[in-house]
């Protein structure tokens, strides 16, 4: 019974910890990052600094090559990923601009598929209209595939979108002329023109998080672990394990874009 008594002075543990944090606030984040497995802490370098984030000796992009795994059979269509992406990356909140979104497929008995993605899945999905005659149904999260052979990079007239050394396709917001050729060239509908900056935007794999050893926001909040982020080539990476234990498909393989978003348990109806 003595264990349950409040500590002398009336401070419970959480309040105590909170007070400690207030004192040592700046230490917390960096300590958390050191706890992360591959945590090359680059702090917050100034944007124009010659010692930029990728230029610091602690993060060497040449030693990384990122990809993502998506297990379709684990996705519950909660839309947390799409919502978190918007919060993390300042994506317009309207239902027509997404860096990642969730589609629901309903395959009917006549083999036809009904697909919907109301507000990218962020607000959930309405009950499917025709329950009868449904063969199977599932959710598919979509995002930029960070192709190894990206058609968007190929067509950009000025070099404002590019593949980084660590395998991420990025857009240079201050250099993009807004011609939208890349949006036309993307087979996956993963790009959009930002209505305010008038430049092309897309998933960055949360590059600002990744260089700090964190996972992308969508992966962080996915409640069922349907998304796996990691190194494509490193044997110890969770992505390698994911690719070893699942039959893997990519979207629209006939276009030879060589996506680095790998889908497990993907249905043939998904386009």
């Amino acid at each position: 019974m003595a264990d349950e008594r409040p500590t002398p002075g009336g401070i419970d543990r959480r309040a105590f910890v909170g007070a400690c944090v207030a004192v040592a606030a700046p230490l917390v984040l960096s300590a958390a990052q050191q706890a992360a497995p591959a945590a090359p802490d680059t702090a917050h370098a100034a944007p124009d600094s010659a010692q930029g984030a990728t230029g610091t000796p602690r993060y060497d992009p040449r030693t990384h090559y990122y990809g993502m795994g998506v297990d379709v059979s684990k996705c519950i269509g909660c839309g947390q990923c799409a919502a978190a992406c918007k919060a993390e990356n300042n994506v317009p909140l309207d239902p027509h601009h997404f860096r990642t979104w969730v589609e629901r497929y309903v395959i009917h008995e006549n083999a036809e598929a009904t697909v919907d993605s109301p507000n990218g899945g962020i607000d959930g999905f309405p009950a499917p209209v025709a329950e009868g005659g449904v063969v199977r149904s599932f959710f598919v999260p979509k995002l930029c595939n960070h192709c190894a052979n990206p058609p968007c990079v190929q067509v950009c007239p000025v070099g404002a979108t590019f593949s980084t050394e660590d395998g991420v396709v990025l857009v240079d917001e201050s250099y993009c002329i807004g011609c939208r050729y890349c949006i036309q060239a993307c087979p996956y509908g993963a790009r959009f023109l930002h209505p305010v900056s008038h430049t092309a935007q897309k998933c960055t794999f949360c590059y600002h998080r990744v260089v700090q050893g964190m996972v992308p926001a969508c992966v962080e909040v996915c409640p069922t672990g349907a998304r796996v982020f990691g190194e494509v080539h490193r044997p110890s990476s969770p992505l390698t394990r994911f690719r070893r234990f699942n039959a893997i498909q990519v979207l629209k393989p006939h276009l030879n874009t060589e996506p680095k978003v790998f889908y497990a348990n993907l249905d043939g109806q998904v386009r």
Binding site: A45, P47, E165, D172, Y175
Partner: protein
């Protein structure tokens, strides 16, 4: 005879047209390369056909989701509890929102905790597209009105086992009844409850006595002693004369010791 077109004889020997045009073209090409010199960004082409500095400016964008490791630093109890539960894979920020600001200013930025049924239902409402085996409920039928956390702790959401006795939920009544004259009676003596009441209490409400005659089965002056309690001597009244315009429990609350 006309001078043949022969540029290889030297610039001066060329026709005037060619010389003038050559000057114009050289000027234009020179202007192009001069413009290039000034207009191409400094770091362009360092790593590929792009501005290398762009990567650095993207790498330092602000972080909004601190990551679950950050939460574990200060909230070990919650994290430990969650780690042993079905929600072990669910990131703290999946429910509490992006809270990188809270890690640097824990007092000033307090995370929110969703209390609304609508939030839990985002994952747990039934949808045929959800994987088989994933816990799903019909939000209309499953204890409507109640907040989910009244039964399920979000940090350890294992559903509570259906109560085996009435006292599990109705403890207050059970405690008062135990010292009342009705202590010997089972709840089912007066209430009939659908077995599903244990899972969905509001959906399947138990019955309540509705008439004076129900009490009169034991307490009427001509009532026989209860069959299963032959030794009981319940107080008897004449239903016709004892407060005829009232139902019994307006004066006698049957669960209370002072019921008589």
């Amino acid at each position: 005879m006309a001078r043949p077109f022969a540029p290889w004889r030297g610039f001066a020997a060329m026709p005037q047209q060619v010389r003038r045009l050559a000057v114009v073209i050289v000027l234009l090409v020179a202007a192009y390369f001069t413009a290039r010199h000034f207009l191409v960004p400094r770091t362009f082409g360092e790593k590929g056909h792009y501005r290398a500095a762009a990567v650095d400016s993207i790498a330092v964008l602000p972080i909004h989701y601190a990551g679950r490791e950050a939460c574990a630093m200060c909230h070990p109890a919650e994290v430990a509890k969650k780690a042993g539960s079905f929600h072990r894979g669910v990131s703290c920020e999946a429910c509490h929102g992006p809270e990188a600001a809270h890690t640097t200013d824990p007092i000033g930025h307090k995370p929110t905790a969703p209390r609304d049924r609508a939030f839990c239902v985002r994952c747990h409402a039934y949808d045929p597209a959800r994987p088989t085996g994933f816990p799903q409920i019909d939000p209309v039928l499953h204890n409507p009105v109640r907040n989910c956390f009244t039964c399920h702790n979000p940090h350890d959401p294992t559903p509570p086992r259906p109560p085996e006795t009435c006292a599990a939920c109705h403890g207050e009544i059970a405690r008062t009844k135990a010292v009342s004259p009705h202590a010997q009676l089972a709840c089912t003596e007066c209430h009939t409850a659908d077995p599903r009441h244990a899972q969905a209490p509001r959906q399947f409400l138990p019955s309540k006595p509705a008439s004076r005659e129900f009490c009169g089965r034991c307490h009427a002056s001509d009532a026989p002693p209860p069959a299963h309690l032959p030794d009981a001597r319940p107080p008897k009244v004449d239903l016709a004369t004892h407060g005829p315009r009232y139902v019994c429990w307006q004066c006698h609350y049957p669960h209370y010791p002072e019921a008589r």
